[in-house]
Symmetry: C2
Subunit: 411 residues, 2 copies
Amino acid sequence: MPEFLSLVSPEAALSFLFEHLVPVLSHEDTATEQALGKVTAEDILSSQDLPEFRRSTVDGYALMARDSHGASESLPAYLKLAGEVLMGTEPGFDLDDKECALIHTGGMLPSAADAVVMLEDTQVLDKGEIEIYRSVASGENLIEIGEDVPKGGTVIPKGTRLRPAEIGGLLALGITQIKTITPPKIGIISSGDEVIQPDQKPKPGEVRDINSYTLGALISELGAEAIHYGIIPDRPENLRETIQIGLRECDHLIVTAGSSASSRDLTADVMNELGDPGVLVHGVSIKPGKPTIFALAGEKVMIGLPGNPVSALVIAYILVKPIIEAYLGLENRKFAPSIPAKLTMNVPSQAGREDWIPVRLIEGENAVLQAEPIFGRSNLIFLLAKADGLVKIPSPTTGLEAGVVVSVRLF
Amino acid sequence: MPEFLSLVSPEAALSFLFEHLVPVLSHEDTATEQALGKVTAEDILSSQDLPEFRRSTVDGYALMARDSHGASESLPAYLKLAGEVLMGTEPGFDLDDKECALIHTGGMLPSAADAVVMLEDTQVLDKGEIEIYRSVASGENLIEIGEDVPKGGTVIPKGTRLRPAEIGGLLALGITQIKTITPPKIGIISSGDEVIQPDQKPKPGEVRDINSYTLGALISELGAEAIHYGIIPDRPENLRETIQIGLRECDHLIVTAGSSASSRDLTADVMNELGDPGVLVHGVSIKPGKPTIFALAGEKVMIGLPGNPVSALVIAYILVKPIIEAYLGLENRKFAPSIPAKLTMNVPSQAGREDWIPVRLIEGENAVLQAEPIFGRSNLIFLLAKADGLVKIPSPTTGLEAGVVVSVRLF
C-alpha cells in the first residue's frame, strides 16, 4: 500500500512526455468573425496591399509638398482649390502645380498629391483660394499603399491565438474564412468511492465531485472541448470500461483518482494495461500534485491527477495546460501574464521538490505589487478561489524569504 | 468644419459619465456548471460546513494523538488496530485508548481520533498491532469540520467573475444554481460612406468595416453580448433611424463614425437629438481617440468612437471596457494584468494629452521584461496585432525615456 514513486521534476516529466509524442493536429474552416480565441492552422498571407490606395490621416488639403515649402503664418502659400475628395470615392480630378484638394481623414489622395496639410494650418479665401500657413514634407499625413501590410506578406503566423485586433486585421484584408486548429476533445473521468454528484446530499464520508467541473472549466477557458464521463467507483472493471470509451471518443483523457492511494494506484494500473507504451511518468517532485501520472495510448495522452481538488487544479495549470496548448497548436503565443511581486512573508519549503503556493496580489507602496501567500491545508478549494495566481518555490531551495521578488503566474 | 472640442481628460470623461448614471443591472439564474466567466449578482453564502466531517489528508492511521507522544524509531508506540475506514462511508466503529484505525486520504475520522500518523511512519506487526515511529500532535494530518468554509460564511461576494476554482468551490457546497448578472446587450453601428462589408471588394476610396468586428470580439471577450447593426451611410436620417432601433433593442450603443470630421460631427448631432441629456463629453485629451463621444439617452449610454480602427480599439480597451464592466456588475475584480517593463527606446509625446502606445513585451536579461514600442501611423490595424498591450504616457509629460519602467496594460 505505501507508494514508491520514482519522482521526476515537472520539467523532466513534460519533456519525457513530448519526446514520445508529436502532437497531430487537425484543422477546420472557421468564419473569421467567429474565430476569436481560436488558433491559426497555417500562416495567413495578404493577397493585397493594405491600404490599396494612399489615404489621408487627417482632415485638410491634399497638395504637392513642394508647393508648401517655406510657408509660415507670416508668409503663407496660396493654392488654388481644385475640388473636394468625397469619402468612399476616387477623386474625379488631379492636381496641377499650385493646386490643392479638400480631403477628409481616410480619403483617397489625388495622384499628383504627395502630402496633406491639416485644416487648422489653413484658411479659406474667397474665389477658391486656400491660404497655407505651414510647410509639409512629402509623405506627411498620409498612409502609403501597403504601409499596413504589403501584398504577399505574412500577416498572422501559424499557431497564433486570435484576439480582437487580429480578427479586425483579417477582415480588413477581406479574409472572411480561415483554417483554425480543431479544438482537441478532452475526456474527464472522476473516480473514487467517496465521490458523488454535486446535486446530491453527501452521506457521512462522501464528498461532492469538484474536479470534473474545475477541469472542465479550465479546458473550455483554454479553447479545448471537455467531454464528461461522470464518476466511476474504484473498481478496475468500471475504470477500464470508461477509459476504453474515452480513448475511443476523445483525443486525450484526464482521470482524477479518488483521494486514497489505492485509488491512485488503480488508475496507474489500468492506464498501463490499456496504454501502449502505457505509464511514462508516475510521480512528480512537485507540491501539490506528487501522484501525477502521464501515460500514452498510441498518440493519445492519459493524465492521472490527484483526487484532491486543489492539487488537481494546480497541476492542471502547471502541467496539463502546456499539453493542451501543444494540442491546440499554439506556437506564436502572445505574452502569458506572469507578474513580478514582492513576497510579504517567509514561505518554507522542502528542498528537492518544486512547491507552488497560491498568492493574492495587493497593490503596495510606489506601485510595487505584493504577493501575499494564502496558507492552508492543500485540500481547501476556497484557497484557490481567494488567489490571483501561483508562485513557484524552486526545487533546490528550502523556502523563500519575505521581501524577495517572485514571479506570479496568473490564473 | 474644423473641430472645436472642449477636451477633457480620460478620467474626467469617465467620472462625468458615471456621475450621471448609476448602472441598473438585471440578473438571471444560471447553472453553476455553465457559469464560467459570469458575474455573481449577490453574495453567495454557504448553507453547510465544508467539509462536513473531519477528513484525513494522508494515508495512515487515525489515533488519539496522546497515544503517540514520545514515540520514535528507537522507542515506538504500539497500538491495536481497531479496523479500517472505507472511503465514502462512516467508520462503523470508534477508538478506545491505545487503538488506531487504518484510514485513506479523504477518509472520515472515527469520533475519538484527533490526529493521523502517516503510513511511512508506521509498521504492521502481526496480530493486528501497529508500530508507530513518530509522535503526532492533535489536529495533525486532518481537516476540521468547516475549515474550508464555515456554515453561513460568504464564499463568493457579489460582483465576482467566476473562474474554474470558484465553480468548483460552489459545486463542493452543492450550489448548482446561482444568480448572475444578465450580460448587457451592446449594439454596434458602423457609419461612414467609405465603409463596406468585409466580404466585398473595395472600389478605390473604400475600406472594409473592421470596427464592427474588433469591437464585437472585445465585447464577447468581456462577457457582454454584441448586437450588430451593420454599416450606415453618413446621412442623418439613416443614422437616426438605426440609433433609435438600437436604443430600443440594446442596453447600450457604440457608434463608430466614418473617419472624416463631418461623419463624427453628424454622430454627435444625432446623439444630442435623440438623447436626454444627450452628449456629455465630446473630445477627450487622449491619443489615439480624441474625437470620442459619451452621450446618454435616459439610462442608456451611447458611445461615439473614431472611425480609425486602431483608435476605436484602443479607446475600447481604455474607456469602453470600464463602462461595460460596470454594466456587468463587476465589483470584486480579480487582479487585472498590468505588467511592469523597461521601455527600450525614447517615446516623445505632447504635454496636456494622454498618449497610449502599443508595445510588444520581450524577456530581457535577468528576467527583466522589456517593452518595445511599436511605432507606426495610428491607422494601421496590424500595429495592434503585433502588440501585447498598451503603455500610457501621462498627460503632463513630453515623453518617456528609454530605460524607465512603465506599466503595460495587457490586452
